[in-house]
Amino acid sequence: MELQKFTYDNKLSKLFLYATVTWGAIGLLVGLTAAFELIFPSWNAGLPWLTFSRIRPLHTNAAIFAFVGNAIFLAVYYSTPRLLKTPMYSKLLGNIHFWGWQLIIVAAAITLPLGFTQSKEYAELEWPIDIAVALVWVVFGINLIGTLIKRRIKHIYVAIWFYIATWVTVAVLYITNNMALPVSAMKSYSVYAGVQDALVQWWYGHNAVAFFLTTPFLGLMYYFIPKASNRPVYSYKLSIIHFWALIFLYIWAGPHHLLYSALPDWAQALGVVFSIMLLAPSWGGMINGLLTLRGAWDKVREDPILKMFVVGVTAYGMSTFEGPMLSLKTVNALSHFTDWTIAHVHIGTLGWNGMLTFGMIYWLMPRLFNTKLYSVKMANIHFWLATTGMLFFSIPLYFAGFTQSLMWKEFTDAGALAYPNFLDTVTQILPMYAMRAFGGSLYYIGFILFIVNVWKTAAAGKFVRYEEDSAPSLEKAPSHGHENWHRRLEGMPVKFTVAALIVILIGGMVEIIPMILVKSNVPTISAVQPYTPLELEGRDIYVREGCYLCHSQQIRPFRSEVERYGEYSKAGESVYDHPFQFGSKRTGPDLAREGVKTLPNYKPNSWHYNHMLDPQSLNPESVMPPYPWIIHNDLDVSTLASKIKTMQTLGVPYPEGYADGQAMKDLEKQASEIAQNLKDAGIDVSSKKEIIALIAYMQRLGTDIYKDGNPEQYSSK
């Protein structure tokens, strides 16, 4: 058989490898800083861009899209050509992909700490960067599918199916969730509102975990574990079944992030059922990964790469067992809004994504640089630091989540809340926050060893830019006679991609379409009115500062929550919330009814003023960072008219022509009233400051259905 010769170019693999290591170091350091800020809230030194709520999105985005993202591209650019016996389709597209992605990360690293955010978790980037992400993603897709088309192998190995599913699904998810109308160059409003926005966001959020943190890493696992152990995958049939089952089921599971929220019950039930079923294909993948190492356990004892793979795949098994459990309504009632979720996701990222990435890079370095790894011993120490770091990180947070949730729910014999002061439940878990920061530090020390090892290995060797290989052309590739549908499908990459797309769209549409119908059918609560111009500006400050990262605005229908926060949240209350601000974590108390004067949590304007300036002066044990700049900054009202008009386009019923003139008059009037109220309380502040708008927004929260003093009437409708 005539063999064709061709060359693999390792340049992009090397670049993605370096990017993975660099952004990993930065993303983890930002996370560690955030962990310490939760123990020492004054660490932000009064600087906006160093404050927890501004750097937390930077940490999550850097960890997911920069560290894990570059690791995915490294795996794809290294393994795809070798599995398909052809170089990547286009070097130019590869370079655009690499540099475009790094520019996006730099843009994120600058804009997120500056407060440019859409306030949707893991989708915080503002619209111009979103467009760049979509374009670079398309470039990546063309390069991937182009490579598939010019391959020399008839059938496509399972790792590449996972890459294809990743590409096609992330494209659908990212575009759908980021639909927004621009207000200005760096500000936009989500086209969805309230419950609908929440459902789209968590459909995206959950599937970002599925198709960015899971499927590409399963592809990575199916390539690098066989390579590192020199053994074929345990069961190829299992890999086919678990691939299709996984991508089919994952897409439905998003609503489990919104249990007991104002989301319709049927959607919640759908999310739970599919989350439980998801356990099977997830564990199918884990079993397949671990059993690939059968007969090689003697190697696992000595080889740090295999050790990392084993712990990584085991962490995948743990978090995919925990995920379905957390989606059970009874467990979720306890775990949601607590640190339990943080522990859960870090088993996934530190264990599954981190360990697989480290293992892959330790395996690649000697091969890319034609030398031995600088220090196997150092890699072993890294393994132990990473493993113990991950456990020290997560186990205290499980306790923290459990403890705090039980304290929230505890009643005295007399029927009152046992811990009516939210802060008591925070101080109780601070030691666990300290242990988490310790665990994170261990993990980071391990990462420093990893950097040294990579650096020294690269310095000791010589980069192997080109590797030659040969294979028969595709027309002459061996075949196996009669082919069934799946084998034929694998032979047709574009059709395979379309099949994967259809599979994920079925779940997406069944979830999303009824929600669009719901929106047009939600009986508007007549008492719920659009925000005033000043409140709208205040809301944008709330979004800019990332308040939603520590404060939810979603009271669940539990006695303990209604007692603490007031009447539970209704779907009709958030119809003008573009974007929604339900939040997913309560490091501080829920704020859904912060403005209701008759509730126990109500605080006067002066309290909010002093609290933003210096939270510890009011609550010495508070972990809230100070926000002094909100006190000092003048409110920028230059885009007010544009904001009102954009909201009108999105269906918010401001009167015709309101944006031109009247809106500003109303804003000034409300601002002077609040400034006067503060003055009466002994605080002399200009009505043009940001704090005035923020107070206006806070005092509006949850008040609409309390206007006539009978909020329960809306429960029966």
């Binding site: 393994s79 070798r82 599995l83 059938h155 190995y157 399972v158 199916y222 066989p226 390579k227 020199n230 053994r231 074929p232 190829y236 049939k237 086919i240 079944i241 299709w244 089952a245 089919f248 089921l249 439905w252 104002a262 989301l263 319709p264 049927w266 759908l270 059922v273 599919f274 790469i305 000697p366 091969r367 031995k372 790894l373 196997v376 192997v464 590797e467 290989d469 040969s470 294979a471 196996h480 006679g481 009669h482 069934n484 549908w485 799946h486 084998r487 599979v503 079925i506 069944v510 009824p514 119908l517 719901v518 059918n521 939600v522 009986p523 229908p557 209704k570 779907a571 429960s715 409708k717």
Partner: protein, 68 residues
């Protein structure tokens, strides 16, 4: 919750959504499993060994053995 449930009940047959989705998945899964278990062994063996094959025919100028 009732506020939304009552609304949703106005959408014709909304309660069928979860059931339809389960049925779609079940049929999909059974058909797929049937075909997968009927795949021929030679093909499975070839596919399994695909990542390992490249080492055997590796014509790279570099020795990939004992790199660790």
């Amino acid at each position: 919750m009732k506020i939304v449930m009552n609304t949703l009940s106005q959408i014709n047959g909304v309660e069928i959504y979860p059931i339809i989705s389960l049925i779609i998945f079940f049929i999909f899964f059974v058909v797929m499993a049937y075909f997968v278990f009927n795949l021929d062994k030679g093909y499975i063996s070839d596919m399994k060994n695909m990542p390992l094959e490249e080492d055997e025919n590796d014509s790279s100028v570099n020795d990939l053995e004992n790199k660790f």
